[in-house]
């Protein structure tokens, strides 16, 4: 009985597996497999484009135009996991532009699915997904709609563009040099970059942590009662325009950069003998907390959007 339980998923996976060679018809691939409404869909492709969209059906549909260097597309379905993989022809990775046409992969998933997309240089685009999304690329750009569930997005040099509709979600984002653009988001945001530019718009925002080494950070939004905002750079500028529901308490500190604001408060020296300036104070009820820190970047704080 125990063995049956252990072997059953593997057997189902084997039967449901739809490993199809890229030669369905020349240069194209098309397949549809049943999938649970709230399952996990994992998609990986090296280059070209990956488009993920949500629909109301309990199935995963895969359509692709394949470049010459693609060996095959695998679509496997096991339990609540559906895996879509574009396998390159050569085992070693080749990033040289050999003039082949790029691979374009289009995947439709049940709208409540969790989606996990991983690419190397392929650009990825996700629209309409309501489940959690994990989006990862090396140099490919990522664009995604923000649903009600968490998003974790990560890139090395690719840019990230996330767009919401004011629905609260938890967003965890990191890049090395890629830029981040966040529009019409709400809820919690944690974003880290080394040299990318961060432009984030959250309304309302409850918890925001932004960190950069040399990239500039620009935040615009409204802080909820008791919200927490941390912004930190080494040499990047910090520009924060934060409206509030119940006031804010702010602490801004810089070692060599300037601190300015839109409410005519003057920064003061951080210590009698050492370098640095600070600007501390309260606006309104002081409920939200804003902390801004930099070494040589400039800080600009405004309590209005």
């Amino acid at each position: 009985m125990y063995m049956t339980h252990r072997l059953l998923p593997a057997a189902v996976a084997l039967i449901a597996s739809a490993t199809v060679w890229a030669g369905d018809s020349p240069g194209t691939f098309e397949r549809e497999v049943p999938a649970p409404a709230r399952g996990v869909v994992q998609i990986s492709s090296t280059n070209g484009t990956v488009d993920v969209s949500a629909w109301d059906r309990a199935a995963v549909s895969v359509k692709a135009e394949l470049a010459a260097d693609v060996d095959r597309v695998e679509v496997t379905n096991s339990g609540d996991h559906t895996v879509v993989r574009v396998i390159q022809r050569h085992s070693g990775m080749s990033f040289s532009n050999s003039g082949h046409e790029e691979t374009h992969l289009r995947v439709q998933v049940p709208k409540d699915s969790e989606v996990d997309v991983s690419t190397v240089s392929a650009n990825a685009n996700s629209t309409g997904v309501l489940g959690a999304q994990r989006l990862k690329s090396v140099s490919g750009d990522i664009t995604a709609d923000i649903g009600p569930a968490d998003i974790e997005a990560k890139s090395v040099s690719g840019s990230l563009k996330l767009r919401g509709k004011g629905q609260a979600a938890k967003l965890h984002i990191s890049t090395v040099s890629g830029d981040l653009e966040l529009k019409h988001a709400a809820g919690d945001l944690e974003a880290t970059t080394v040299s990318g530019e961060v432009t984030a718009e959250l309304d309302p925002a409850h918890s925001v942590r932004l960190r950069s080494t040399s990239g500039d950070i620009h935040f615009e939004g409204r802080l909820t009662r008791g919200a927490d905002f941390d912004g930190q750079t080494v040499s990047g500028d910090l520009k924060v325009r934060a409206g509030f529901e119940d006031g804010l308490t702010f602490e801004a500190a810089s070692v060599t950069g300037d601190i300015s604001d839109c409410f005519n408060a003057a920064a003061e020296r951080a210590s009698e003998y050492g370098p640095g300036h600070k600007l501390n104070g309260t606006r309104g009820g002081g409920s939200a907390h804003v902390r801004l820190k930099t070494m040589s970047g400039e800080i600009d704080l405004c309590d209005r959007k």
Binding site: I87, S121, V176, S177, T213, A270, K293, M295
Partner: protein, 190 residues
């Protein structure tokens, strides 16, 4: 506490007077006590001297045991702390100035950092050329940020803001190295 007391309060060892002369010559009384004790030992005879030597031995044994306990305690404390041997491990309340030193001298950090750096060349080679260039530029940015922060800390070692930024920059470097490793693995996995 009176105003005078407050003014005269001692805040450092340097505030204490360097020498205080006694009001009278104490040596004659000390000499007399030494001479008297020697005479008393002689008066006790060999058995008394042995008892006295036994008591002295017990005192020395107790002192040795105490020193051993303290040594074991210090050793356990040092080996249990992160970054044993670092300034953090040398005191129960590390100052802000020792925090980043403790971070970078932690053997686990050093080992992890060394391994990531060793693999970096191979991992970079597996990235697309544009990505590789951007990662190298970002690592150079981090290196420069570390140098600037350390230089600023050299001038202002107690600056908590600089300490925090430096520690975070070290963490960012590790994150980038880890991300590059993951990206390289992802490329192989697809």
């Amino acid at each position: 506490m009176t105003e005078r007391d407050a003014k005269d309060s001692v805040t450092t060892l340097r505030d204490l007077p360097q020498g205080i002369e006694p009001g009278r010559d104490l040596w004659p009384q000390i000499e007399a006590q030494i001479a008297g004790r020697g005479g008393a030992v002689r008066a006790l005879g060999p058995a008394g001297a042995a008892r006295r030597n036994g008591a002295a031995a017990r005192v020395y044994l107790a002192a040795a045991a105490m020193v051993a306990c303290v040594a074991v305690g210090v050793w356990i404390g040092r080996s249990g702390l992160p970054g044993a041997g670092s300034p953090l491990a040398q005191g129960s309340r590390p100052s802000a100035a020792t925090r980043h030193t403790a971070w970078v001298t932690d053997p686990r950090y050093q080992r992890e950092h060394r391994e990531l750096m060793r693999a970096l060349g191979t991992q970079l080679a597996s990235l697309p050329p544009a990505s590789r260039a951007k990662v190298m530029a970002s690592l150079a940015t981090i290196r420069q940020a570390k140098q600037e922060l350390e230089s600023a800390l050299g001038k202002d070692p107690g600056n908590a803001l600089l300490q925090e930024l430096l520690v975070n920059t070290y963490q960012d470097e590790m994150r980038v190295l880890t991300d590059v490793r993951e990206a390289s693995d992802a490329g192989r996995g697809i």
